[in-house]
């Protein structure tokens, strides 16, 4: 199809001929039948001297597809970029943002920050902001207190920050000494860190490490607002909260339900792969969305639905499968076989089947606004193309993004998607699974590294209490065992699992996994977690350098500032919460109330309006580091050029900050306060109980990454490759990303060649284009999660692997055996040097969390490390094993055992491990009982809840009619002590409360229809932060007036219409807009803020395209352009006409193309019951025509004369 391949020599020959011709005279040319048209140099038209460039490979810094980019530069001047043709994710293609990202470099972008700055004028006061309930009022305040900056040096900036933080930390008496030991309570640290998903893995890891060493869990990042409910919903159900398929794999899907996402706009290059299937005729695309999106334009079936009715829609798919289909899917042998393989109890299926029975097509149509016929068509298409109905030959898959996640029941929605996939046999196959597409380039990585307030890197539980630390010390003393070899001490109680060796359940396995990871942190961070003396875990003094508990999140932090008065300072890196926080005025008040706000960003952002210190950071292309894309591929980014001016990569900033904080005495490590500088690493003799000293290790936190290996001065100080290696050791999930035997960074692998069939996972790699030698993927380079059956079921083949006797560091279950392989196994470097399959056979849920350790009871993790410094810089281990001989023992060196790579450890997975992993169909989020006014509130499952459900709903509806919605909530919550609770019909002293074990439909807090709002009441009031809006703290009474649970409470003006609002992103922009409004190439496409209005509504209200409209509610009022369109619907919901409008939320008042019309000002912040996710996808507002002078959009740039001026 293309030009035949020309060699470089041919090319030069042709070029030479071209120049010769030019030398001929006009008349000669005429005679020769010329003129020949001009021969152009590459890039001549754009005046790009490409032949003088060198190239740098990188990964696109916008969305999470992970597209490769080749940058062309001359010195430090980047003149061009093209898609990387070798990268299997984008095959040389890019989206408009990727293309335009050339303009992000400081050389092309004068708006980039270039120097640290300190504010010299007052910040906007809380009391003034409290009254700002409209765009005009907000604008007046923020312009009055516009920041005035003084440029400073980095040293001045750091000294200023450290000094202020020292004062703040002193003022709250920050001290690790507690009554029962030495530790910090993570939620009480006065500094909150918010660090964005644009950071590299190394940066994300370091910032969480830094916060933890400060004693703080008040650290979180934007993943909280984007996919936290996905992570919680999926991890709680199948093990990990991640995309199970890859973008490439979407081409093998048979029916692709795009429900809550819009990949054509937000992940455009992913559509490349999806459309391959569609164009082949093997993939049917179904789009169900409140908007007719650009993805919808590609759909085979499209349906509008009402925002916030997600669970009802998905429930109908189950209803169809269980109650309408003949035979019902649960009677199929394929179904029974599949759920058995998932270790699901068939009784669990009965319970959800019972729930699904209520969601008939008619009822779901009333809730969602989707016509009955269309519902049936969609459900039928979906179910009949699923694994259980096609004998695992075809698979249906679900894609989503913020559409499912951003609801106060987001966790329930994503769980619902998972349950649909589990039920229909669509999980764990190429072409089938779950596809939550993540937003930022590295949000998967920053989530994995857990810049989160509730978990440590690799999804590891933070110590919940001092008891867990005592049990941990006891676990260490048992020789760092896996769950099968661990005996939980009697004094530990029942919270850790069965206390009998060999007997396991998932609780025990998870705890042993968490403990092994705490040990990884101890060894690699140089900290101590345990008791002194080590031999006495029960009575010794608890000393923990890992803080206790959980911190504030990105959504409830403002309550921590304003109500709880715990947070007094914030460090915000690469985030712009003044645009992205929902009910944004609450964020403004929170920010304004801080004693110190430090913002690190590329630009002077909206958030910087509230800052005391503004530091210039670097973009992904200006960094070295690893990046994890949405389907978990870890790829390496090389620095293209350093950031302009004095700007620095975040890694450098973090480590410098640590240096200053340490110097100024802000770092107060519990082990230091106690004086614990050595750990005696002991293992108790299993027979005699005698503590045997394995070795002693030094306790000294490791935060010095200056290796001088990089020529760039900033990276000479902060070696990202050293941190990459540390992550491999410290974070179990990422263990394997570095090859300690061959000393290779696997994220740097760039082989597009598929494996041979006889290599590990070779058949799958070849058949389904897994690209297993491109980068590396967690867990253990597995590309399709839970891929346990593809070989046997889909391809009808199995393979084998032989564990040669004593050749691998595995247990007796595998040693010398041949195992049958039915799915994808992944691979690891064995401690004895070879490469072997990781998960045998195939794998199952909780892979990577459940495993056995061949060295249980015999040595420390990695065979021990004398100090973190020695471990990381010299890669030196202790290497001592205990060999027990009756009552005696001896110590042997690892080399005597044939071990070549102790850092590779000895984890393995056998059939027993696989069969312990269970898909959690049922997942109660509330457990046990609590006392309330002399009665017992008991959290119950569906069968019990069904006894009182109707009565609960009935009483609520009656109270709502007489008192109003909010008072009805308050009345019932006060009466019964819990929301979604009602007295037991059987026991007068008992109140039954729904335990949320299965998803059900809950109306959004702001519902357009009273009948639905009372029939399916919002669940929000289960969560304390939400209930504060019903019963506000003193001084904040107005909070209860800021929302409207039904249209009647909105108080809409008479010339306005009440609408359901949903918010979204578009391909031309990115999140808070700083990365795109400041990029003229993208601003050209969509410069101004607007709202999509259904045409019939616009006609009714006299709104014409481009008019200025007011969109408002009790929270705020904003002014936008009217996009009058058929792409947003008028729906019939429960017999009522409901209009949906849509607002892209990319605008704010800073940078180019600015306005004070921040969409999130009118969005609500009712939080998910599990993760605190905000409900930005469904809320109420009114809309009407407004006077054009209300509109304050400014372009802040102008057209210059000429074609190429810039």
């Amino acid at each position: 199809m293309l030009e035949p391949k020309i060699s470089r020599r041919d090319f030069l020959k042709a070029a030479g001929l071209g120049s010769l011709l030019l030398l001929l005279g006009d008349s000669t040319k005429r005679v020769l039948g010329l003129p020949k048209p001009k021969r152009y140099e590459l890039g001549e038209i754009g005046r790009k001297q490409l032949y003088k460039t060198t190239e740098v490979r990188g990964i696109c810094g916008y969305c999470s597809v992970g597209c490769g980019i080749i940058f062309y530069k001359q010195g430090d001047s980047v003149i061009h970029l093209e898609g990387d043709p070798d990268n299997p994710l984008n095959e040389g293609k890019l989206c408009p943002k990727g293309e335009a990202s050339l303009e992000l470099f400081g050389q092309h972008n004068p708006r980039r920050l270039r120097t640290p700055m300190i504010r010299v004028n007052p910040k906007p006061p809380v009391e003034e902001l409290k009254k700002a309930r409209s765009q005009e009022e907000l604008k007046a305040i923020l312009e009055k207190y516009k920041p005035v900056w003084k440029p400073v040096t980095w040293d001045e900036a750091f000294r200023y920050i450290a000094k202020r933080l020292k004062e703040i930390v002193d003022s709250v008496g920050w001290n690790p000494r507690k009554e029962d030991g030495y530790y910090h309570v993570g939620k009480m640290f006065p500094l909150m860190i918010e660090a964005g998903a644009k950071l590299t893995n190394e940066e994300a890891y370091i910032i969480k490490k830094l916060a933890t060493l400060l004693g703080s869990y008040n650290i979180d990042h934007d993943a909280r607002r984007c996919h936290s409910t996905t992570v919680a919903g999926l991890a709680g159900t199948v093990g990990f909260g991640a995309q199970t398929q890859s973008f490439i794999d979407t081409q093998f899907i048979s029916t692709y339900l795009i429900f809550g996402g819009n990949p054509a706009e937000n992940h455009p290059v992913s559509m490349r792969h999806t459309l391959k299937g569609k164009n082949k005729g093997t993939l049917k695309l179904i789009v169900v969305d409140p908007r007719y999106t650009r993805t919808a334009a590609q759909a085979d079936i499209f349906a509008f639905f009402r925002p916030g009715s997600d669970i009802a829609f998905l429930m109908y798919i189950l209803h169809y499968a269980f109650w309408e289909r003949n035979p019902p899917v649960d009677q199929l042998d394929t179904f029974k076989e599949f759920v058995t393989r998932l270790n699901v109890d068939l009784n669990e299926i009965k319970e959800i089947k019972e729930i699904a029975k209520n969601y008939t097509a008619e009822e779901v149509s009333k809730i969602t606004g989707i016509p009955v016929d269309k519902l049936r068509l969609i459900a039928k298409t979906y179910v009949e193309n699923s694994g259980v109905t096609t004998n695992f030959k075809r698979f249906a898959s679900i894609q989503w993004a913020m559409g499912q996640t951003q609801h106060h029941v987001g966790t329930q929605i994503t769980r619902m998607s998972t349950i649909v996939q589990l039920t229909l046999g669509n999980m764990g196959f190429p072409g089938g699974g779950l596809n939550p597409y993540r937003g930022h380039s590295n949000v998967q990585g920053t989530t994995d590294m857990c810049i989160l307030s509730h978990i440590l890197p690799g999804y590891i539980k933070q110590p919940p209490n001092t008891l867990s630390i005592r049990v941990y010390q006891d676990w260490k003393n048992q020789g760092f065992p896996d769950a099968w070899h661990w005996e939980i001490p009697e004094w530990a109680g029942s919270a850790f699992g069965p206390n009998e060796k060999g007997k396991v359940n998932s609780t025990k396995i998870l705890w042993s996994w968490w403990f092994q990871n705490w040990r990884r942190f101890e060894l690699t961070w140089g900290i101590f977690v345990g008791t002194d003396p080590e031999e006495d875990p029960k009575n010794g003094t608890v000393i923990s350098d890992l803080p206790i508990g959980k911190g504030y999140t990105e959504n409830n932090w403002w309550q921590g500032v304003l109500f709880d008065k715990v947070i007094k300072a914030m460090l915000i890196m690469a985030e712009n919460i003044a645009v992205s926080n929902a009910d944004t005025i609450t964020a403004y008040m929170g920010l304004a109330a801080l004693d110190l706000l430090v913002v690190v960003d590329l630009w002077e952002t909206e958030t910087a309006t509230f800052a005391d210190v503004l530091l210039p950071g670097a973009f992904q292309y200006e960094k070295y580091g690893s990046i994890t894309n949405s389907n978990r591929w870890i790829q390496w980014q090389d620095r293209v050029v350093p950031p302009a001016g004095d700007a620095k990569p975040d890694l450098w900033i973090m480590l410098k900050l640590w240096e200053y904080l340490d110097k100024y005495g802000v770092v107060r490590l519990p082990s230091k306060a106690y004086g614990k500088d050595r750990e005696k690493v002991i293992i108790k003799h299993p027979k005699t109980g005698e503590p045997i000293l394995l070795y002693e290790r030094e306790i000294e936190p490791f935060m010095n990454y200056a290796t001088n290996r990089f020529p760039d001065p900033d990276y000479a100080y902060a070696d990202p490759e050293l941190i990459y290696k540390e992550i491999d050791l410290a974070v179990d999930l990422y263990n394997g990303q570095y090859d300690w035997y061959e000393h290779k960074i696997l994220a740097k692998r760039r082989s597009p060649i598929l494996r041979r069939e006889d290599e590990i996972d070779g058949i799958l790699d070849r058949t389904f284009k897994l690209h297993k030698d491109w980068g590396w993927t967690w867990p253990k380079n597995v590309r399709i999660l839970y891929n346990m059956w593809t070989l046997s079921k889909t391809l009808g083949k199995t393979t084998e692997f032989n564990f040669g006797i004593a050749r691998f560091a595995v247990g007796p279950e595998l040693d010398g055996k041949t195992v049958k392989i039915t799915g994808e196994t992944g691979e690891i470097r064995d401690a004895k040097g070879g490469i072997r399959p990781a998960f045998i056979p195939g794998h199952n849920f909780y892979i990577g969390k459940f495993y056995k350790r061949a060295w249980s009871g015999r040595t420390d993790i990695f065979t021990g490390a004398r100090s973190a410094r020695e471990l990381l810089l010299e890669e030196r281990v202790v290497g001592k094993f205990i060999v027990f001989e009756g009552d005696k023992y001896k110590l042997v060196d690892y080399t005597e055992l044939g071990i070549k790579c102790p850092l590779c450890e000895s984890f393995y997975y056998d059939e027993e491990v696989v069969n312990t992993g269970k898909a959690a169909y049922k997942k109660p989020y509330f457990k046990g009982t609590k006392e309330y006014k002399g009665k017992t509130i008991k959290y119950v499952g569906y069968y019990d809840w069904a006894k009182v459900k109707d009565k609960f709903v009935q009483e609520f509806a009656e109270l709502a009619k007489s008192l109003g919605m909010k008072k009805a909530v308050k009345e019932m919550k006060t009466k019964y002590g819990e929301w979604y609770a009602y007295p037991s019909p059987d026991n007068p002293n008992e109140i039954l409360a729904w335990d949320f074990r299965y998803p059900m439909h809950y109306e959004p807090v702001e519902s357009p229809v009273f009948e639905l709002a009372t029939k399916y009441p919002a669940a929000a009031w289960r969560r304390a932060e939400n209930y504060r809006f019903i019963e506000p703290p003193s001084g904040w009474e107005d909070l209860s007036k800021t929302f409207s649970m039904i249209p009647e409470e909105l108080g809409a003006p008479s010339d306005a219409a009440v609408v359901v609002v949903t918010t979204n992103r578009m391909v031309e922009h990115f999140h808070t807009g700083q990365l795109t409004r400041n990029v003229p190439l993208l601003a050209e496409l969509v410069p101004e803020p607007f709202v999509d209005i259904p045409k019939p509504l616009a006609d009714k209200l006299g709104i014409k395209p481009g008019d200025i409209v007011e969109v408002g509610n009790k929270r705020n009022r904003i002014y936008l352009r009217a996009m009058v369109t058929n792409r947003v619907p008028k729906l019939s919901v429960n017999g009522k006409e409901v209009y949906v409008v849509n607002i892209p939320w990319h605008w704010g008042w800073q940078g180019a193309h600015s306005t004070y019309a921040v969409a999130n000002l009118i969005a609500d912040i009712f939080m998910d019951l599990v993760t605190t996710m905000q409900e930005t996808k469904a809320f109420l507002a009114y809309i009407r025509k407004a006077s054009p002078d209300k509109y304050d959009y400014k372009a802040n740039e102008e057209n210059l004369p000429g074609v190429r001026v810039r």
Partner: protein
């Protein structure tokens, strides 16, 4: 180089507009500071600095609602009326089919603007020259696909040998616009193909306002007489050696394609 075509496959377009940005990036043209567009098309029209525009249009018909996406730029006619009109021979029709205005020769007379039935060339008052899409002549002559094609993530844009491409789409059941338009323009080297909107390519309600059934302009001045004068303005340009790295990429793209085609699914 043989005759080439760029095919815009209407059915595959997701209106991401990577092409519009890629066009700017490659040609180093200034992005326009625009204002709100009620149709999403932005800028609403071609400009001297915007050589291609993605257009979006909402249509409601008996089948329901359609959101149509159209790529607008120079059609690169074989009998290019603009080139025929140019008095100084500044518009060259290349063997590949590319119709290219030479910036060094253009005298800004705007005869081409008058002659173009598709309303494409744009005059820049600042440089006093006329600009339009070049078919990425400085890429295709050097073995690269045009920038818009190279960017397009969903292969809605395909570049290839003219006849091969036309035949391929026709044999797959696509309707094709451009391979035989009329005597005024000949055929166009930008071709438009669809299966989804068969019979609607030249219907003005759908794409026909752009894909004219019978494109022609009445006023073609007797320019031919004065055209030779322009030849004197030819400047000398030396072609330098091509950087290995850029060239390497072209080769890789090539090989990739081959692998894909040869490898089979």
């Amino acid at each position: 180089m043989g005759e080439k075509a760029i095919a815009f496959n209407v059915d595959n377009c997701i209106f991401c507009r990577a092409c519009q940005v890629a066009c700017h990036v490659w040609n180093n043209t200034r992005p326009e500071v625009t204002s709100f567009s009620p149709t999403m098309t932005n800028p609403p029209d071609l400009l001297p600095n915007v050589w291609m525009v993605m257009e979006a249009k909402e249509v409601v018909d008996g089948d329901g609602f359609h959101w149509l996406f159209f790529k607008r730029q120079c059609m690169h006619c074989s009998n290019a009326p603009c080139a025929n009109a140019c008095p100084v021979g500044a518009i060259e029709v290349h063997p590949s089919g590319a119709v290219v205005i030479r910036e060094d020769k253009c005298i800004g007379c705007r005869y081409c603007v008058e002659a173009c039935p598709y309303d494409v060339p744009r005059y820049d008052e600042y440089t006093e020259k006329v600009y339009k899409c070049t078919f990425c002549i400085d890429r295709i002559q050097n073995g690269l696909e045009p920038a818009c094609v190279s960017a397009c993530p969903t292969d809605a844009l395909v570049f290839g040998d003219y006849d091969e491409l036309v035949n391929k789409f026709k044999s797959e059941g696509y309707e094709v616009y451009g391979d035989n338009v009329n005597d005024y323009v000949g055929k166009t080297h930008y071709i438009y193909v669809t299966k989804k909107y068969k019979g609607k390519l030249t219907d003005p309600k759908y794409f026909g306002d752009r894909l004219l059934k019978d494109p022609r302009k009445a006023a073609r001045a007797t320019i031919d007489a004065i055209r030779p004068i322009g030849w004197g303005l030819v400047g000398l340009t030396l072609i330098g050696a091509l950087g290995h790295l850029v060239f390497w990429r072209a080769k890789r793209m090539e090989e990739k394609k081959k692998e894909e085609e040869g490898g089979g699914e």
